[in-house]
Symmetry: C2
Subunit: 257 residues, 2 copies
């Protein structure tokens, strides 16, 4: 039984890609079969793992438009046996307008994913910072949404817009969609701002807020330039510890439900 | 003669809104008549200055769709005599699809702005983290683009996509569009990553890189929760000094050209 989780937040720079890459890697280190899908035209999740899809590769773009079957787009990551990746590429920028012309444009990813999703324990989808058709496709294909939230004022403000979008998707397109959890990212215990925002989030989300907090840790922002997830770049770092704990918390939550 | 500058970068969280608010405030402190336009559905520039447009206010949404004239949307900011703001609101989320149906959909902002722009020395446009129709409208209405760039790996990666988009807009929609400059943001002199990225950017952009650097400074991220630009929240902070210097550099560049 596979769990499909969209990693989404329209606020930019909150740690969506960093969470998608490092949670996927941590789950695969725990020997969970994991598929990471990059549906952001910026293709940061792809490049952060060194998966550079050029014009000859099949990417999520061809899969969404139905020009290629999904099996051809799945790539391995050397060193992490249980991890697979479907890369993105810049040409995905034009997809929102092209998808808009199709019937059932919100269901393209869900349909494509249906043939392979049961090969995996976890499918993670890294979304762009917007609420357009690409993110909607991810929210329709997913069973739940993991929301990274930076410990900053604007990040708190943006949650209203995100939750109302989730509600709309639940009502019209995917009644089974639930909130997997809200993850505090870039937490800096020396800053009052971090403490204040964390407190607000606790009040707002209660037990939907993960116990695991991701601390600000420069090693996390260095790792992508070495095309490695944090546990292969620096296993002793706080970032690696945080994301391994997050994977553990998600796996334990699954066992309970 | 007014200068219309779009503040754009599809990479999320790089400091577009922080730059738009604080540069606009710094220019108005220098007694330049300044208009700040928020064209991001997240409406962070609006809320960061405490301009909460509810359903009775005219926002950039009504202006873009031609449902209201632009004069009705212009608001004052108490305390900064030379600053005016056109706010955004969540309902702008639906605008990209609605604009898509119009003829000359890329020119809506340019047309609306033409009647008021000469009342100002500077018009700044805060863009969302995407390259959709809202950002394209800003790039067509603008004479130049200011690109905030976070001193991080992914921020460097994303520049290729941004520059190719600027090039496309120059060729097809706005031949007069130029690169105003690239601004390094959230620079932390203790981190090697910041130094490396700054060096790369210098190689890539040469004199298009502003001399002014915006340092990471928690006062900048605290100010929005007090609905104040940094020079009214904490004039002694590094953030205030940096943005006042940036305004000075832009004004001096204008005198030279
Ligand atoms: N815990 C952390 N500590 C330090 N830096 C971090 C942390 N998490 C993310 N970063 C850095 O912050 C920046 C933003 O993170 P990231 O790109 O993952 O956010 P995003 O939400 O995916 O952005 P976008 O909205 O553009 O997709 C990146 O440069 C990343 O390396
Ligand atoms: N120099 C700085 N020092 C510290 N924090 C900063 C600085 N500049 C911006 N920030 C904070 O970083 C976060 C991202 O900045 P901001 O929201 O301005 O970026 P953005 O590019 O407008 O994001 P989006 O892509 O979502 O529109 C905000 O919480 C802001 O307060
Ligand atoms: Mg991302
Ligand atoms: Mg912004």
């Amino acid at each position: 039984m596979s769990r499909v989780i969209a990693i989404a937040n329209q606020k930019g720079g909150v740690g969506k890609t960093t969470t998608a890459i490092n949670l996927a890697a941590a789950l695969s280190v725990a020997e969970k079969r994991t598929l990471l899908i990059d549906i952001d035209p910026q293709a940061n999740a792809s490049s952060g793992l060194g998966v550079k899809a050029d014009n000859s590769h099949v990417t999520i773009y061809e899969v969404l438009l139905g020009n290629s079957n999904i099996e051809n787009s799945i790539m391995e990551y050397p060193g992490l046996e249980y991890l697979r990746i479907i890369p993105s590429q810049i040409r995905l920028v034009g997809a929102e307008l092209e998808l808009g012309q199709l019937d059932e444009r919100e269901y393209c990813l869900k349909k494509a994913l249906s043939t392979v999703k049961d090969d995996y324990d976890y499918v993670l989808i890294d979304c762009p910072p917007s609420l357009g058709l690409l993110t909607i496709n991810a929210l329709v294909a997913a069973q739940s949404v993991l929301v990274p939230m930076q410990c900053e004022y604007y990040a708190l403000e943006g949650l209203g817009l995100l939750l109302s979008t989730l509600h709309r998707v639940q009502q019209k397109l995917n009644p089974g969609l639930s909130l997997e959890g809200v993850l505090l990212t870039m937490f800096d215990r020396r800053l009052n701002l971090s403490l204040q925002v964390a407190e607000e989030a606790k009040k707002y989300f209660g037990n939907k807020l993960y116990n695991t907090i991701i601390f600000r840790n420069v090693r996390l922002s260095e790792a992508p330039s070495f095309e490695k997830p944090i546990m292969l770049y620096d296993i002793k770092s706080t970032g690696a510890e945080n994301y391994l704990n997050l994977a553990k918390e998600i796996i334990l939550n699954d066992k309970k439900s």
